[in-house]
Symmetry: C2
Subunit: 285 residues, 2 copies
Amino acid sequence: MAIQKVAYLGPEASFTHLATKALFQNDLLVSTRTIPECIESVVNGKVDIAVVPLENALEGTVPLTIDYLFHEVDLYVIAEIQSPIEQHLMVHPNNEKKWEEINTIYSHPHALAQCHKYLYYRFGKVPLEQSTSTAAAAKFVSENEQDYIAAIGNSSAATEYGLSIVEHNIHDFHFNHTRFFVLSKSNLCIQKIGQIDEVKTTVMITLPKDDRSGALHQVLSVFAWRQLNLSKIESRPLKTGLGQYFFVIDVLEDERTPMMVGALEELRALGCEVKSLGSYFTYKT
Amino acid sequence: MAIQKVAYLGPEASFTHLATKALFQNDLLVSTRTIPECIESVVNGKVDIAVVPLENALEGTVPLTIDYLFHEVDLYVIAEIQSPIEQHLMVHPNNEKKWEEINTIYSHPHALAQCHKYLYYRFGKVPLEQSTSTAAAAKFVSENEQDYIAAIGNSSAATEYGLSIVEHNIHDFHFNHTRFFVLSKSNLCIQKIGQIDEVKTTVMITLPKDDRSGALHQVLSVFAWRQLNLSKIESRPLKTGLGQYFFVIDVLEDERTPMMVGALEELRALGCEVKSLGSYFTYKT
């Protein structure tokens, strides 16, 4: 197979980078700074594929990803990657012995939230500072040895920026995984490689404009009487006013099966707008 | 009525502060630094009431508020405030004439996201820096005149920190409102004052553990056949693993009406866990 260009939400050593490396071992990986930039790079044809975070088991959906896929672009999901998220406390190696005297902790807001209890009980009086990514926090700590500061991030960030991990696995909850979407302009499901769990279809549904009572119940009936299993339903603002939403639904079925074809037709007949992101396999790293 | 102590998510001149001042004009307002600190202050009895942001019309739910109310505490919503959110670009008054030469823009990540298009087209090459609040960004700009930097925030922040607004209403979408929850230990609805739109009940529902297909459809049926109108449904992670959620549902009905009493009983009979945050009126500022 030809080498593909794959954009990921960077910087290097970010969780998205780790997930991308696991699925695209022989391709050319390109770091991008923001989720819109990463998604636009596949729209513009600068790359063939983009990998962005979609949902964390603790923090929930990454709103920017879902909203951008709904409002701004027409792309397909060709695979999903699920990766464990392990957060560690790291300092400059020269501060390793006096790490308990750190006076500021840097990380991405999601990582700080994932370690909320640890930080509250262990470093309740130490200020927390937000970074644009866990890798950026690690980089900042590596460049400011004199400041007695720490970063929270993954082990790859510690390696990349030469930091010492002084506390492992400080995230509050086990089972902390993140889902990443692999996006492309073509609706071609990435072929099975290795162990596959399930096939999924993601559809984004806008209810009829008359907003009659029970419209969402009607939408779910379309799936329920066909015994189509939903693994997720989530509401996101339509950006037209408080209380107006679209719904993101993950169905555990290929959209090309007769049952799914019938379901999507029925939804449109009910007056819903339906945007399908396609069907895809899940890869666990 | 006795003066009440009301905690709000600060700092002074934050959007939450503005909303709180509108509803509690004669009470003692206390600034808190984080959403958990604000909520805990009413749990600990340091204050009588806490006001926190719940949901923005563009960005969606504030995950920390919903998750903290579900996982950590047992409080009631005694009122909801809905306020318009208007974002302005502001600089130090001494930089007012050369404001188009600014080299960094500071604000809260939500405010930066709300002005994403404006910033992309008008200041595409200017780095954006995240602050813990729009007010903190304004304060920082007021203290760093020499740096040619700008903040995005509300007009109250400009007044509070003596900044000049150089571009008004730079948020991308109209109809940008935020909902705030007014929280208390007692389940007493704040009495009607002024114009009231509606009464709402917020319930948090966990599906039965056997996770049978169509369980959410069954939950919605409980409301649908009673013609109880839902103004919102949202899934949030249970923090037990990817794909496991609880649901936050807003019903346009008082929970003490016979229909609502019946609905909540039926949900429990179906094996759902139901946590009601109580019934409350909406105040628009």
